[in-house]
Amino acid sequence: MPGLGRAALVVALGLVLYALVAGGYAALKGRRRLHDSARNAFVGAFVSVLAASAVLLGAFLADDFSLSYVADHSSRDLPARYAFAAFWGGQEGSLLLWLLVLTGMGAAATLLNRRLVREVLPWTVPVLAGVAAFFALMLVFVSSPFATQPAPADGLGLNPSLQNPYMMAHPPMLYLGYVGLTIPYAFAMAALVAGRIDERWIVATRRWTIAAWTFLGLGVLIGAKWAYEEVGWGGWYAWDPVENAALMPWLVSTAYLHSVMIQEKKDMLRVWNVVLVALAFCLSLFGTFLTRSGVLNSIHSFAESPIGSWFLGFICVVAGVSIALIVWRLPLLRSRTKLESLVSREAAFLYNNLFFVAFALTVLWGVAYPLVSEAIRGIASTVGAPYYDFFAIAFGLPLVLLMGLGPLVAWRRASLRSLGAGVAWPAGVALVCGIALAALGAGSSAAGLVGYTFAAFVLAAIALEFVRGTRAHKALGDSSWAGAFTSLVGRNRRRYGGYVVHAAIALLVIGAVGIGAFQSEREGRLQPGQALEVEGYTLRYLGSTQERAANALELRAEVEVSRGGESLGVLTPGKNRYFAEQQTSNEVAIRSSFVQAEDLMLVADQFNDDGSVYLKAIVNPLVGLIWGAGLVFLLGSVIAMWPDAREQRRLARRFAEPGAYARA
């Protein structure tokens, strides 16, 4: 079977190389049939990679330890559902997943967009094939998942901390996001080569970009949820280089999703958009590189592997080619329209973009700083959480404010007076909230109070937009309020889906501010019977228990939680000592309360021989909103992505008229 997997990968490599060469030649010479053949080869490569993946998955399910990769990432007693997690638990499997998603998405995107972008499409196939060829080369020659060995009696098993449902979803989500960004990149580069730099490539890839961006965002959030529950240090995002690796392309693609609207509406920012899409793709490659090379100190561990230098080389090639293409097409990309006023919707989008990109570059600088300082001064220096926190506040707060203001500013040229009238309501709501919160004692953190107030402003502004829109639709003849609301959202999916996403971000900000600025923590060594007080909770340590489970010794501290004399039950934080892996893992106990809108998190940090326990108690206000925001975010993205037959017809008409698409 390993032979079959290897053969399938070699076939896939051959097919993408053919798609690259033949597709490029066909596009250059305008050979229609050769192009179709190249595209079919690319689709064939997907099928071939799918077969290779099936072989690898089959080997995991059958415990075929003659494959080194399977022996290193699985064991006989590993539950079958974690076979998937083991599939992408290491480098070779991750690369295979990359290639699988890339060929799958690429095939779908080229097949679905056959009509809309006829002149651009021939070039997308060789671009996609070029990227796919890199991964296929890695898998065939450098890092094969099908290397064999004499089968050991049992495999090494999967890291216990990865045996978690969140860890089954987190990596594939990130990969779908990283790889998904290849699609807009390929179309943008194809448009540059073809010299068709109108907004068609943007329209054709809009939903792909939103999908990739949604996966990336959810992937980061699911990783944060895993860290919150499994790692148990009380936080949710630690600015670890590998977390940042996924955050950077997300930030840049967020900027891109906003700035393309300017190009579609006003034909401005053409250069900026291709730069952003190339930057997002480079950052997604850089993210894969960071997770797969050993260049940085991170909680995620990686030995220095040969793949690192290959990746760095590939990133340089991609960046070089992108820059060369953009410079070559610069004369065509210059737009004829100019910004009319610094107070306008366009300008608001522009400020938003500058902040997003500045934030992404700040994070990039922080991530790369150890490498840069080592190259310059010989000693690696790292920047820590204070650096990132500072810039998250410095760029984040203005972004939140813009998120509320942007939708209220008129296009082209807004008078300050009309802006003031539009802003009055939400600003009033925000002010009342701010004063109320300050009275309740939220003033202990200035940034926290400002964050809450801005979030209230955004939520009020979004609510106002929905109310105004619904009222307008009702006035236009919709019989019921519900009908007016549905037709409002249905006819402007991207806009109102976008507002829902904005609401999700506001919720996320509230949760992040709660945990970041208003977290309280107490810790202490407790003998049985002793108690610890934190934020109105009384935590009485009753004693510890030990239980022998199948694969681990489970130590638990029994802690009775009460509040105001009323018992809230017993929490049992503890540690599991795994026998086979000779490893301990913290089992955090969390009590989420909707009434108090906070989490009580208990960590049994240390069990002592004298029967005492070192207990850490953390109270996280409003943290539930962070996870709730993920669901709202998903809802908003789905609304924005939902297929719209009316829009398709309108676009088809618009692009059918020669020259019509390049309207100023």
Partner: protein
């Protein structure tokens, strides 16, 4: 005008970044062999050498830290949270400073890398 805005923001940002990262905020990341002669707080990375003695919550946990690829080592004393994966032969890093030949770790700054056991040749990525 657009260009002017973008450039001015970029320039301000660049200056700001250079300032914050070179003037403060950044911590030097060293190996035990590079430690001599460095005052102030640094980040130290290396491999834990046993025996690990003491109590991280009372008096401090004591062990030695060795270069990844050399014999140089330094004694370490550390108080605070100890990660699950901490034990002899693991790769760790922590912040702290050298005092009289002993590296005194800052509370709760110790971070363990994942054990290499799960992938003997190339380490795995847990997330």
């Amino acid at each position: 005008m657009r260009l002017v805005i973008a450039l001015s923001v970029a320039v301000v940002l660049a200056v700001f970044l250079l300032y914050t990262s070179f003037a403060g905020g950044a911590t030097e990341s060293l190996r035990p062999s590079q430690l001599a002669g460095h005052d102030g707080e640094v980040q130290l990375a290396g491999i834990v050498i046993g025996p690990v003695t003491g109590d991280a919550r009372a008096g401090g946990l004591r062990f030695e830290l060795k270069d990844f690829d050399g014999p140089a080592k330094v004694p370490v004393v550390y108080t605070g949270s100890v990660p699950d994966l901490f034990q002899a032969d693991r790769h760790i890093y922590l912040r702290g400073e050298l005092e009289n030949g002993v590296f005194v770790g800052k509370p709760d700054s110790l971070v363990t890398k994942c054990p290499s056991k799960y992938e003997p040749k190339q380490d795995s990525d847990p997330a």
